[in-house]
Amino acid sequence: MTFLHKFPKAAKVSKANFIVAFIALGLGGFFGFIQALHRTGVFRGFFNSGEYYTLLTGHGVLLALIFTTFFIAGLFVWGVTRSLEREPENMTFTWSWFWIMTIGLVMAAVAILGGLVPNGSIRAAVLYTFYPPLQAHPMFYIGLALVLIGSWMAGADWFWSYRKWREENPTDRIPILTFMTLFTMLMWYVCTIGLAIEVVGLLIPWSLGWVVEIEPLLPRTLFWFFGHAVVYFWLLPAYYVWYAILPKLSGGRLFSDSMTRIVFIIFLILSTPVGYHHQYADAGISLGFKFYAMATTMLLLLPSLMTLFTVVASMEHGARQRGGKGYFAWVGKLPWDRPAFVGCALAGIMFAAGGFSGMINAGMNVNLLIHNTLWIPGHFHLTVGTAVALTFMAISYWLVPQLTGRKLKFKTLALIQPYTWFLGMTLMSNAMHRAGLAGVPRRTAEPEFNTNAMSFDPVFGTMGEMKWQIAIGGTILLISLILFLWVITTSWLAGEKSDKPVDDYIPEPLSGVEHTPAVLDNMKLWFALALILVLLAYSFPLWEMIQDGIFEPGALPRPS
């Protein structure tokens, strides 16, 4: 008996979400490969530089917003169903959020890809941050709003299951998988307030022409209200995998249940009031609020550093149970021949590196050294592009067999895949960080100086060498992505049917829930605290911005 046989309805929902996620991953990843060749100038024959931004928007939206959201939905359906041992309460409701999200995704994707139609009027080359006054077709914003509404309903679905479960189990502690899901969703509700106000309140009326002018700073600020918490919305499901599943894949048990819960609570509280750290270089926001955001951002290092300890300790526990010894030698006893483990472990290592460049980004003034340079995509390809994406891919090797009731095919290719991803990403992001230090901007089709006889001065090495490093890294990543999609597709369609395609048992933590204080499960308390901190960070500056009118000082729209 595996998940499919116990919970066939939930398995179907999970699978539907995964299918959408993997299609978005394939398409978005392919766009990324084209970009790697285009912006380095290695090969610019696929598209013109003017069309580059359509691809860039597609890459960002499909991977950062669509792949993540759908995969997370699939993962959480699996986790909530499994840990509460109940199918979704109402399948009509469950399928309706899936279809609302999917319709929204299709609308956004059509608006973006419309930009590749010559002389077409449906365009959305506004990148995934869609800062006005650059204007996309209304369909783009409406699609995003639908994805958002669908994701809210998905969260409501999981809370619904939880309430029903609570009625039947009034004294039990919240199972850890459900706990992590609910806290991630609580954080999502807090941070998407900003996005909802921006998209529904400002951008949709504006793109439909009901209002003409827009004040650029207000939607930008509302975007970043959401925009940093969203990275934790991607990251927390990766943590979810590292806490709940990775210890077992390592041959051990989760080190501490209470630490896990504390980490998720801190993320709920601190994720949103940090948004100004994306606006250190903005006029119109006073230094005091920038400093407040830096302090909360730096405090957010704490849960990640705690995660580092707890997760590595859980892996070490596994390695020692497998016979590992010494201070360092135990690492060799970890199952480096299992793709699911290898992917998660390498993703974790990358996250440690990405954590460092994130610390630089968080430093209010040192941020200017790298603000909007290629360093930033270098950073988030380590975090969301590897820590999150590689974890999701790796855990698919373990989840998809449970959802389909089929064994994994091509295990050797599956094993090669995370290593190639790690290699490709190191090459690409290493060069991106270094190019960023030399001042090479992000988000541009042709980063070279065109008409002035100027050049960027790298600290060491040459621009040419970095360009090849990025292009080769991007190519290796594409190969890795193809391997992943091949393994998953063939296993999904033609894997050997089995009652037990993987060992899906998850052992109890070392320090279990019996050691965990009850207050940690008090969702109302932590949610209220999160709202208070958000109000402290945002109420005054937002109020100040709308003093002169919500759309003033107004700028005219510029169709992208």
């Binding site: 365009r123 390498l346 994994l408 095919k409 290493n430």
Partner: protein, 187 residues
Amino acid sequence: MTNSETSNSEEGSNKTLVRTLIIIGIGIPVLVELLTLFNLVNVQIFNDKTDQVQRRSQPDQAVEFTEGDTLFTKSNYPVVISGMQINVSAQEWVFELEFRPSDTTMQATPLVKVDSLRLKNGDLLRRGQEWSASQSKSMRWTLPNGQVPVKLYLSGKELITEDSVRNIHEEVPLGSIPVRYTRKTQR
């Protein structure tokens, strides 16, 4: 490729594979990062700014033409680039070029022609436009999105006598062309 992980021969080849993967997949990344760290610290702290002089040497700049410059200066019918701009909208990129006769244009009816444009990506845009050098002329090209012209190929027909014509060809490398946003007008 088999799914079995227990057979001994499989185990052996698996070990070799894992070792290779670790050496390539983790070894190279670690090496790259260590080299980066070493070079950064080495350049910044130990031989600070040795390449300062070298890095500012700029490539030799060819003479580039921009708005206001005169072409065919050696002939007796020079023309002036009186306007040059790229108008960019979401849908299309349009290159607009305007010539007027120079004050020193002597001959009344020589014909001048823009044969083609060389774009930055190397493509050639052929669409000849011919006019009399004694008159002003404006012309426009629709560019592939994102491309800018870097060179003009011109030719001139100079009447030496009543019935003999001399052809002159000129390559005009273009300097910085202003690129401006325009709302596309519906046509």
